[in-house]
C-alpha cells in the first residue's frame, strides 16, 4: 500500500513532507484537501488531524499529523532510501538541535512575516507594517546566529544536508520572493546555504507540483 499525503501543494507544512518523500525517491499518493472550502476543518479530515491542519499522512495503518513528526518518521523508517536526512549516533544530537531551532527560532518569525508579505497580498488583505517592523530585526538576529553556525558547518546540523535544513525550504522560498531576501543575501554563508538547498532537484519537484495543479 502506497503512502498517502493529505494536504495542499502550496501549504508550507505539506511541502515539507513532499520534499522529504522526493529526497528519498519514495512513491506516494497525494490526496488534495480543499483548504479554501475549509475541508480541513470538517470530518472526515478531522479524523486524520483533530487540530484541523494539513498535512496528514498515512503509511499502512500508521496515521500521523505534524509535518516535522511525519518527515522524521519517513527519514528513519526509510533510512536506506535516497538522501539520508538524519544521522546515526552523536551527529544526530546536533541535527536535533537545529531542527528545534528551525521550529522555534526561525519558523515562528518567518511565518508571521510570510503571512504579512506573501499571504495577505494574495488574499487582498492589507499588510500590517508594524508586524513586519517588529519581526524583521528579530529574523535578522536569528540569521546572524545562522551565519556564525554556517561558518563552522557546511549545513546547519552537520556537514550533510538533513531535515534541519530541509524544514526551512517552504517558508524560506516564500520569504526569498519578498523584500526580506536582502536579509539572506547580506550574509555570505547564509546566502550560499540558501542557494544550495533551494537548488536541490527534490525541491524543484515540490515547486513543480504547484504548476501542475
Amino acid at each position: 500500500m502506497v503512502m498517502k499525503v493529505h494536504g495542499g501543494v502550496a501549504s508550507t507544512a505539506t511541502m515539507r513532507v513532499f520534499a522529504t518523500l522526493y529526497e528519498k525517491n519514495l512513491e506516494f499518493e497525494f490526496v488534495p484537501v480543499d483548504l479554501r472550502a475549509g475541508e480541513h476543518k470538517k470530518e472526515p479530515f478531522l479524523a486524520l488531524n483533530p487540530f484541523g491542519q494539513v498535512p496528514a499522512f498515512e503509511d499502512g495503518d500508521l496515521k500521523l499529523f505534524e509535518s516535522r513528526a511525519i518527515t522524521g518518521y519517513i527519514a528513519h523508517a526509510y533510512a536506506d532510501k535516497g538522501t539520508p536526512l538524519v544521522c546515526e549516533g552523536k551527529p544526530m544530537a546536533t541535527v536535533g538541535v537545529w531542527m528545534e531551532v528551525e521550529a522555534h527560532q526561525f519558523d515562528t518569525l518567518a511565518s508571521k512575516l510570510q503571512w504579512e508579505l506573501v499571504y495577505k497580498p494574495m488574499f487582498g488583505m492589507a499588510m500590517d507594517a508594524a508586524v513586519v517592523e517588529e519581526n524583521e530585526p528579530k529574523l535578522a538576529k536569528v540569521l546572524d546566529v545562522y551565519e556564525a553556525r554556517l561558518s563552522q558547518s557546511k549545513y546547519l546540523g552537520c556537514d550533510c544536508f538533513t531535515l534541519a535544513d530541509l524544514h526551512h525550504l517552504p517558508t524560506l522560498t516564500n520569504l526569498m520572493g519578498t523584500p526580506l531576501k536582502k536579509l539572506f543575501d547580506a550574509r555570505p554563508k547564509v546566502s550560499a546555504w540558501v542557494a544550495d538547498i533551494m537548488a536541490r532537484p527534490a525541491w524543484a519537484k515540490v515547486l513543480a507540483m504547484r504548476s501542475q495543479k
Binding site: 505534524e66 538541535v97 528545534e100
Partner: protein, 218 residues
C-alpha cells in the same frame, strides 16, 4: 561512571524544568549550573558560546554541548535508552512516531498560547511589566480550543501518545504547572474530564514533584 551532566539555567524557567523532569525520569545524574539572568548573564559572550540565541537551558555531557529543551530531552532519552523510564521515548518506531506527533503538537500548538499566558500571568507581574489584556484574552481562547481537542483525544487514550507516559506528556508539565497555580487557570483543566484526569496523573509523578521542589528553593 560518567560525571554528572550539566544543565545551565534556573529551574524556574519552563524550558529548563522540561529538561530537569526528563533527567529525573531517566535517573540521569545532573548538576545544575546557575545562570544569573537578572544580570543578563545569558546574553554575555561566555554564555552565548554554549547557547547562541542567549536562552536557557544549555546542556553538556562528556561528549557534547547542545541546546533547545526538546532536543536535549530527545538526546538524553536516546543516549540513556536503558536507564530509568524506558517508555519515555520508545525505541519502537511506530510508538516513537506517535510520541513525536504529540511532542510536535505540544511545541507547535500548545506551547504558543500557554507560554504567552505563562509570561503574562506568572512572569510579567514579577518583572514589573504591564500585563497585555488583549494577549491574555486571545491566548485564553486559543488554549481553550486546544484543550477541547486534548480532551477528545484523552477520552480514548490514557496519555497523549498511547497507554504510557511519554516525553510528549512530560513536555506539557512546565507551562501547565504555572497556568494552574500562579496563573489561576486551573478551571480550564479541571472542567474538562479527561484533561483533568491526565493532568492530575502526570503532575503527580515523582519526577515532576521534585522539579517543583527545585523551583521553590531557587
Amino acid at each position: 561512571m560518567a560525571a554528572p551532566v550539566k544543565v545551565y539555567g534556573p529551574p524556574l524557567s519552563t524550558a529548563v524544568s522540561r529538561v530537569l523532569a526528563c533527567l529525573l525520569e531517566k535517573d540521569v545524574e545532573f548538576q545544575l549550573v546557575p545562570v544569573n539572568m537578572a544580570n543578563g548573564e545569558h546574553k554575555k559572550p561566555e554564555y552565548l558560546k554554549i547557547q547562541p540565541f542567549g536562552q536557557v537551558p544549555a546542556f553538556q555531557d562528556e561528549s557534547i554541548a547542545i541546546f533547545e529543551s526538546r532536543a536535549i530531552c530527545r538526546y538524553i532519552c536516546e543516549k540513556h535508552a536503558d536507564k530509568g523510564n524506558k517508555n519515555l521515548y520508545s525505541t519502537n518506531p511506530l510508538v516513537k512516531a506517535s510520541i513525536e506527533q504529540w511532542l510536535e503538537a505540544e511545541g507547535q500548538t500548545y506551547n504558543p498560547p500557554s507560554s504567552a499566558l505563562v509570561f503574562q500571568l506568572a512572569f510579567a507581574p514579577r518583572m514589573n511589566i504591564k500585563q497585555d489584556e488583549e494577549s491574555i484574552k486571545l491566548n485564553d481562547q486559543k488554549l481553550s480550543k486546544v484543550l477541547d481537542i486534548y480532551d477528545q483525544r484523552l477520552e480514548s487514550s490514557r496519555f497523549l501518545a498511547g497507554d504510557e507516559f511519554t516525553l510528549a506528556d512530560l513536555s506539557h508539565l512546565p507551562n501547565t504547572h504555572y497556568l494552574v497555580t500562579v496563573g489561576n487557570r486551573g478551571e480550564a483543566f479541571s472542567s474538562r474530564k479527561n484533561v483533568d484526569r491526565w493532568w492530575n496523573e502526570i503532575s503527580s509523578r515523582d519526577s515532576w514533584k521534585k522539579v517543583v521542589e527545585m523551583q521553590k528553593s531557587k
